[in-house]
Symmetry: C2
Subunit: 245 residues, 2 copies
C-alpha cells in the first residue's frame, strides 16, 4: 500500500521457511515500506493461493492497462487464461520479429501481476495514520503463451482448482473446441515480492490522548449459502468439498 | 474477467440512471464480454465506493507496474496518495519537458486504475464454464499531482472517508509536516467502464445432465469485531458510525 504510513509490524505472523526466498531485484524492492516487504516463498504462495482474482497489468500503445482475471498456480508458475481473442492473450502471441519458420519463439508480453487481500481497516486518531492491514504479492515478468497441449491442460485444471481445490476432478474437462478457443499465458514466479501490514495503529505519541476511537476493524470474507443451478438434478447433493466451505 | 465464458446476465440488477453515462472510447470498450460492460455513472460510483483498495497501473522503464493503494472519490475525481518519495507519485511530478519558469505544468502520469469485487464462485458442470461473479471498474487516464492546498486537503479527507464514511470528522487533520510529506494524485473519471457478471452458471445444453453439482457460492465480506488500540482511553467508546459496521 502506498499510504504514507510509518514503519509498522510487518511479517511477524509469517515466519521464514526453509525454502529459498525469491531474489530481490531492483524493481521488486519497494521504494517505500521496505520493512513490510518479504521475499519468502511460502508467504508468497499462501497469498496467491487465497485470492480469486489477480490484477494483470500490461502496456498497450504505451499506456498501462490493468484487468482483473482469474489465475492458477502450479509450483513456481502462474497461469492466466482468456479467449484467444482477448487483448493480452493476443499481444503475448504476436510475433512481430518473426522472420523465418525456425524463428517461432513468441517474444512474450511484459506484465505485472498483483494480488491483494485487505484484512482490516486501521483507524488512527490522526487522519495521516489511517491505513489498512493487507497482504499483497507483486510479480514482474514476461508472460508467454502456452503451446504445449499437456501444459495447457495442467494450467486449465489449475485455474479451476484455484476457484475450489479439487474441483477439476468434479467437472467435465475441456473438449477440443474449448481448448482451441482458450489461450493460456504462463508467468514464472521469479521476480516476486510480498508486502504485508498487520497489527494495530501507528500513532504519534502526542496524539495518544486525543478523544478519537482508534483501533482495527477486521475484514473477513465468508462463503454464503450455495445456490444450486435451476437445472440441477435434485438427486445431485452438494459435495463434501463444497459443503466444507 | 477475461475468462473464456459465453454471454451471461450482466447489469440487470443495476438499471440505468438519469445521469449521463460515460462516453465509451476505443480503450474503454472491452474486446471481450461486451454484454457485461456498462458506462453507467451510478454503477461505476457504487463499485468504486464499496472497495477499499484499487490497483494502480503505470509504466516504468517501458514495463508495467501494478500496485495496490487506497483511494478516495470526490464526484468525478479519484485521488490516490502516497509518500512524496513513492514511485508513481514522483513520476507524476517529474517535468522532463520543463523549459522555463512559465512552463510549470507537470505532464502527468498515464495510469490505469482498476477496482474489483468478487461476489461469488460460479461452478459449472464443465471446467470451461467455471467463472466468478464480479463487479469491476477500469479507469484510464493521466494522473496529475495535486498542488492546490485546498484540493489536497479535500482529497485527503476523501481518502480517510473512503475507509469509513465520516471518519475525517473524527480524527486529527493532517498538520503542515504531514501535508508536506504526502503527495496526492488526481485522476478524472472520464474514460471509464464497469464490467459486471451476475447470475448463475452458463452451461452447454448437453452438459446439463452431467452428475456434477453446479451453482453459485456467494462470497461476502463482513466486518469483524473492532479491536481497540492498546493505548485507547477506556472512556472512549466505539462511536455509532463504527458500531453500525
Amino acid at each position: 500500500m502506498s499510504a504514507p504510513t510509518s514503519a509498522s509490524t510487518s511479517t511477524s505472523t509469517y515466519g521464514p521457511t526453509d525454502e529459498p526466498a525469491y531474489e530481490p531485484t531492483d524493481r521488486s524492492v519497494p521504494t517505500r515500506g521496505r520493512p513490510r516487504a518479504s521475499y519468502d516463498r511460502a508467504l508468497v504462495h499462501a497469498i496467491l493461493d487465497e485470492a480469486y482474482v489477480c490484477h494483470l497489468g500490461f502496456v498497450r500503445d504505451g499506456a498501462p492497462v490493468v484487468l482483473p482475471t482469474l489465475y492458477g498456480r502450479v509450483g513456481e508458475r502462474l497461469y492466466v487464461h482468456g479467449s484467444t481473442g482477448s487483448r493480452p492473450l493476443r499481444m503475448a502471441g504476436e510475433q512481430p520479429g518473426r522472420r523465418s519458420e525456425q524463428d517461432t519463439a513468441a517474444p512474450g508480453l511484459p506484465v505485472c501481476l498483483t494480488v491483494t487481500h485487505v484484512d482490516g481497516l486501521v483507524l488512527a486518531r490522526s487522519a495521516f495514520h489511517h491505513s489498512v492491514n493487507y497482504r499483497s504479492v507483486v510479480v514482474h515478468g514476461t508472460a508467454h503463451q502456452v503451446t504445449d497441449p499437456e501444459e495447457k491442460r495442467t494450467a486449465l485444471d489449475a485455474l479451476v482448482d484455484h476457484v475450489v481445490p479439487g474441483r477439476s476432478y468434479d467437472s467435465r474437462p475441456a473438449n477440443a473446441k474449448e481448448l482451441a478457443a482458450t489461450a493460456v499465458l504462463r508467468l514464472d514466479l521469479a521476480e516476486v515480492s510480498a508486502k504485508v501490514r498487520t497489527g494495530g495503529v501507528n500513532e504519534e505519541p502526542e496524539d495518544l490522548a486525543l478523544p478519537h476511537w482508534a483501533g482495527v476493524i477486521p475484514l473477513v470474507t465468508r462463503y454464503g449459502t450455495a445456490v444450486p443451478d435451476e437445472h440441477l438434478d435434485p438427486s445431485v447433493a452438494l459435495p463434501d468439498y463444497l459443503a466444507a466451505l
